[in-house]
């Protein structure tokens, strides 16, 4: 069975400002980031759709200790965001001073953009990642 929405295609679309997902024709739920099957029901009858780039912050952390090769990025904020259409995605929150991150972030409305992670010796080249800004 062919993979309907690969990482490469998802990533490429994100760099053009489009967030793609998979709509399940069995249960109607949307899965993103993509998988072979629907995250909710395991269904395989999926259609690639554009997902609205709006959501709310569910949780966050301000990172001070980075992995090898990424020390120049700290401090940075990672957030999990619940998109308006249901799925959760992970990315970085930009546009605020990381030191000011606190519990008030939870529930804030954000919109989805992107940034490139250039990869390191363990990862195969450029990877687009979601970044979030306050709506």
């Amino acid at each position: 069975m062919d993979y309907k929405l690969t990482f490469k295609d998802y990533s490429k679309a994100l760099t053009k400002g489009t967030l793609l997902g998979l709509k399940c024709k069995t249960c109607g739920n949307i899965t993103t980031p993509p998988k072979m099957t629907c995250q909710e029901c395991g269904g395989t009858d999926l259609e690639v759709v554009e997902v609205k780039k709006k959501g709310k912050i569910v949780t966050f952390t301000n990172v001070s200790v980075a992995p090898e090769g990424r020390q120049n990025e700290v401090p940075y904020i990672i957030v999990l965001v619940r998109l308006d259409e249901g799925p959760w995605i992970m990315g970085n929150l930009i546009d605020i001073d990381p030191a000011s991150a606190n519990m008030d972030l939870i529930g804030r409305d954000v919109s989805v953009g992107f940034k490139i992670f250039p990869g390191d010796k363990f990862s195969p080249g450029d990877q687009a990642r979601p970044v979030f800004s306050f709506s």
Partner: protein, 390 residues
């Protein structure tokens, strides 16, 4: 299905960076386990070895084969288990299944890691490989960052104000360090206070340095045998009576289940059902306290406390010896150390000695049933239940 007994254990000290190789560490633990069982290396019919990062820590993959040869268990089938921090628990579970099935009578199982030897930067990078490399690592996700996000989510979801939760989390580390004092194999022999935790360096908010377990080097090994074989070797066998294992998708795919890890609940149910017991029957538990918040999350999903209430239990001393359910009296990952590939076998080793009444100052008197909980990455979970067999 046959009954399966543990009849020998070996456990190196868990330490900061060591000069010993992984093979050397594992062989020391393995020979101790084999000797304690009253067996010889040539009696081992198979080796199941947990190891995650040998490839990165010393350029050594496939060490299971050399490890078997190193101890003189020539040409036996040797298999490596990689399940992040749960690697050797997965190895124990599979060893159990192979002995229970009747295929083998005697299996050597354990794990080894040299995480401390990698240094913080490379260790942080390689531990981050236990997250989704394409969809989540690009955001800079680290292992502590994952649990840091679960801590904030826990506070929000259960309505425990963050400052209050932080104090409860600090108490987890304080307790573990207190028990680590009486474990000669522990990496830390140092009591800490709540203030020490709350004044520590912020690693990734809200986790401070002493909310986090250390990077560690070390090995642990066990000999598992059939009930019949156990009768020849000991009059104090410890039986493995429950096993569970489950998996998960990437963190974001776990959605509304968080901060609970659904895989843990699936795995624990399998183990409780197989053993025919319930959480209140457990006399002591070694659970996966890679971070202070991880202890609260684990203890709740294992059925010991209500959701959102585990922190209060730690504060009231319900997790101490003499309390409702003694947890991590070995010092846990926090004080004993966490050489990831060895951790599961180390947890089982603690339960084994506790059930045999050999735990010294930290003995839980009269313990008959013990449980281990080991978490790998954001979703490989293994639960093992052991019972006193005499």
């Amino acid at each position: 299905m046959r009954k399966v007994a543990i009849v020998g254990t070996g456990h190196t000290p868990f330490t900061f960076a060591t000069e010993k190789t992984s093979i050397e560490l594992f062989s020391e633990a393995a020979m101790d386990a084999i000797n304690e069982a009253g067996l010889k290396s040539k009696d081992m019919q198979a080796l199941y070895l947990g190891n995650c990062l040998g490839d990165f820590s010393e350029g050594q993959a496939m060490m299971q084969s050399y490890a078997a040869n190193d101890i003189g268990a020539f040409h036996i089938p040797a298999t490596r288990f990689e399940g992040a921090c749960a690697s050797s628990s997965l190895a124990v579970r599979d060893a159990f299944i192979w002995v229970a099935s009747g295929f083998y009578d005697v299996v050597l199982v354990g794990g080894v890691e040299r995480a401390a030897s990698m240094g913080t930067s490379l260790a942080t990078r390689t531990f981050a490989m236990f997250t989704d490399s394409h969809y989540e690592y690009p955001a800079g996700l680290t292992f502590p960052a994952m649990f840091a996000m679960l801590a904030h989510l826990y506070s929000h979801k259960y309505g425990v104000p963050l400052e209050r939760l932080k104090e409860q989390m600090a108490q987890v580390s304080v307790q573990s360090h207190a028990y680590g004092m009486s474990n000669p194999k522990a990496q830390f022999h140092k009591e800490i206070t709540k203030e020490d935790v709350l004044n520590g360096f912020m690693v990734t908010s809200p986790l401070q340095l002493l909310d986090c377990c250390p990077f560690s080097d070390g090995a642990a090994a066990l000999v598992l045998v059939s009930e019949e074989k156990a009768k020849e070797l000991t009059d104090k066998p410890v039986f493995i009576t429950g096993i569970g294992q489950a998996s998960s998708g990437r963190l974001s795919a776990q959605k509304d289940d968080l901060p609970r890890l659904r895989a843990r609940e699936e795995s624990a149910k399998q183990a409780y059902d197989l053993a025919g017991i319930k959480p209140s029957d457990v006399d002591l538990c070694e659970l996966h306290d890679c971070f202070s918040i991880a202890s609260l999350i684990a203890a709740e999903s294992l059925g010991f406390f209500e959701f959102g209430k585990a922190g209060e239990a730690w504060e009231k001393g319900e997790t101490k010896i003499g309390g409702k359910i003694p947890i991590n009296v070995s010092g846990g990952l926090k004080a004993k150390g966490h050489p990831i590939g060895a951790t599961g076998a180390s947890q089982v080793s603690e339960i084994y000695h506790q059930l045999r009444g050999e735990a010294g100052e930290r003995q839980v008197e009269g313990a008959k049933i013990g449980l281990t909980d080991t978490l790998g990455g954001d979703g490989v979970i293994c639960t093992l239940i052991m019972e006193k067999g005499w």
